[in-house]
Amino acid sequence: MNLLDYLPFDLPHPALLAAGMLEGTVLAAVLALTALGLSIVFGIMRVVNVAHGEFYMLGAVLAWFITHTVSGIIGGPPWLGFALALIIAPLIVAALAAATDWLVLKRLNYDPEATIVATIGILYIIQQLALTFYGPDARPVEAPFDFRVQLPWFGYSGYKLCVVGAAILLMLIVWLILARTKIGLIMRATQYDRETAQAFGIPVDKVYAGVFALGAGLAAIGAVLIVPIQQAHYLMGGDPLLLSFIVVILGGLGSLKGTLVAAIFIGLSDGIISTLYEPTLAKILATLLVAMVLVFRPQGLFGARAA
């Protein structure tokens, strides 16, 4: 009687498992990077930002424009263009987000339902402007550095491993800002109770604009880091939006730790399940797994249990 016969799948070849784990970790890093911004905006402002994916796409598209012009004009090494993109793109996206918050969301007084509608509108606007000026093609962005790590079974992109490192670094920085700095304190105060924060003289509207801009900026930073392992395309905002929502809600509202754990949970489960079953079947199971967690633990992994 061999126990392994009773498993509902056959054990994967070690190379497959290794690839699944590696890709799972990278996906976890990608998810964390994309969801980080949403987690802050959603956690602090309790506002569902459906345009989050488009800010991500804008970051990637701007990264292409910047690296393309830099290599075109100055023609420096790839990392120069990339470094500039990593700084400039998020700033532009953050500024744009602050403007949208000021022009639209503030007027709606951040009413949850109205913000969903407004951000769907903003989604289409950003997407279609990208189509107009960037065009419909998918264009690659050169990674700042490209080296191949030779593992026992196969080679793996060094840059991807650095993306994992960058994700951890970024999460740490954001956590430090929130936990250790004055601005972080103000943000947490506004998150805890908006009225009392206002009573203490915190300019809540300015904080919201800042948080919304920070959220979009973080999405853009994530995009600039990730675009070299994917491409910049005007429709690329769709999936990151869905995945970030799943990560944020699965992790539990307003809990940075929850976002991190949920990103790891989804990344690894997607990676490992894909080694056990046929690809599409694996995607179905991974999707249902996430849904079931939310069904049987509504407040998410780390959210406060609803009183």
Binding site: R107, L131, Q299
Partner: protein, 331 residues
């Protein structure tokens, strides 16, 4: 109460009277709009009246579509019984998803319905040899007849779509103005209070979700039969967002909002992509000399702008604002 019966009667009568006057182009459009308005009406019962925002209604639409189309394609059933099978599939899907998704709180419902819809989309792809996956399959014109009436004939199709729409409109108006409807609206406003007034919110939400799924399913089955095509694209996320847009434009929580929203959005997209945007692009080229080929195809830009303006100045949607400002008795 009588006013609302008259109003709905008037709308249906107008649609009947309109039929002979319509050019063939608008004939075909209105037939499709009415089928999609059934989908939006179903969606509105859950979103507009009960306050539950689902991002996965395409799975019910697709359940109806495939339930019906596969019975015709694989079991060679005739249109009538196949349509009923389609509606039953949507009913079953509604019950299963209802029991699972309604355990969630707040935004969790949005994500869980999204996940179930994504899983059903992939399942349609997975069973490709039956469903032909994303490519989909056609239903032969010869088979698409019901009680001797050829459904591909323009007038028959118009009136079949109108019949289905009228049934769903009256059903939705009846439900939302009934006692149950009053509870659904109360759940939307303050679910905790409803529980403390002696109602079990779960049962009412489940009823709303199942009714909404059945209507969405009947629209899916009707689309397959009236337009002769079933494909996995109708189970994709885009087709879960469409009814949300139509209801938001028309007026969530109003019985006629879905129809109005579907009509307006259809013609907005149709004219924008056909005339407005290409004209704009040509004008930009002639006036400023900038080559902007992308602009000609960016008609969704208008949809985006429309939504932002809508939420800033008419948050309750067109009919919702009309009700708040002028006609308070509008159902």
């Amino acid at each position: 109460m009588i006013r609302s019966v008259l109003l709905h009667g008037f709308v249906i009568a107008a649609l009947i009277a309109l039929e002979p006057l319509l050019s063939e182009y608008h004939h075909g459009n209105l037939a499709r709009i009415m089928v999609l308005a059934v989908y939006a009406t179903g969606y509105n019962i859950l979103f507009g009246y009960t306050g539950l925002l689902s991002l996965g209604h395409a799975m019910f639409f697709a359940a109806g579509m495939y339930g019906c189309a596969l019975m015709i394609r694989l079991a060679e059933w005739s249109v009538g019984p196949a349509f009923i099978v389609g509606v039953i599939c949507a009913l079953i899907a509604g019950i299963i998803v209802g029991f699972l998704a309604l355990r969630t709180i707040g935004v969790g419902f949005m994500i869980v319905t999204l996940m179930f819809a994504e899983a059903s989309y992939l399942t349609i792809l997975y069973y490709n040899e039956y469903t032909r996956g994303d490519e989909g399959f056609t239903i032969a014109q010869s088979v698409r007849t019901i009680a001797g009436l050829d459904l591909s004939d323009t007038t028959t199709r118009y009136f079949s779509a109108l019949t289905l729409f009228s049934i769903c409109l009256i059903a939705s108006a009846a439900v939302v103005q009934s006692k149950a409807g009053r509870v659904l609206v109360a759940i939307r406003e303050n679910e905790d209070r409803v529980r403390m007034l002696g109602f079990d919110p779960f049962r009412y939400k489940l009823f709303a979700l199942i009714l909404s799924a059945v209507m969405a399913g009947s629209a899916g089955a009707a689309y397959a039969v009236l337009f002769g095509y079933a494909g996995a694209s109708f189970a994709a996320v885009q087709y879960s967002i469409f009814p949300l847009l139509w209801v938001l434009l028309g007026g969530p929580g109003t019985t006629l909002g879905p129809l109005l929203g579907t009509v307006l959005m259809f013609y907005l997209v149709d004219y924008a992509s056909g005339t407005i945007m290409p004209g704009l692009a040509a004008m930009v080229e002639t006036q400023f000399g900038i080559e902007a080929p992308g602009l000609a195809s960016a008609y969704l830009l208008l949809v985006g702008v429309a939504l932002v303006l809508l939420v800033l100045f008419a948050p309750k949607g067109l009919l919702g604002t009309l009700r708040a400002r002028m006609i308070p008795w509008l159902p």
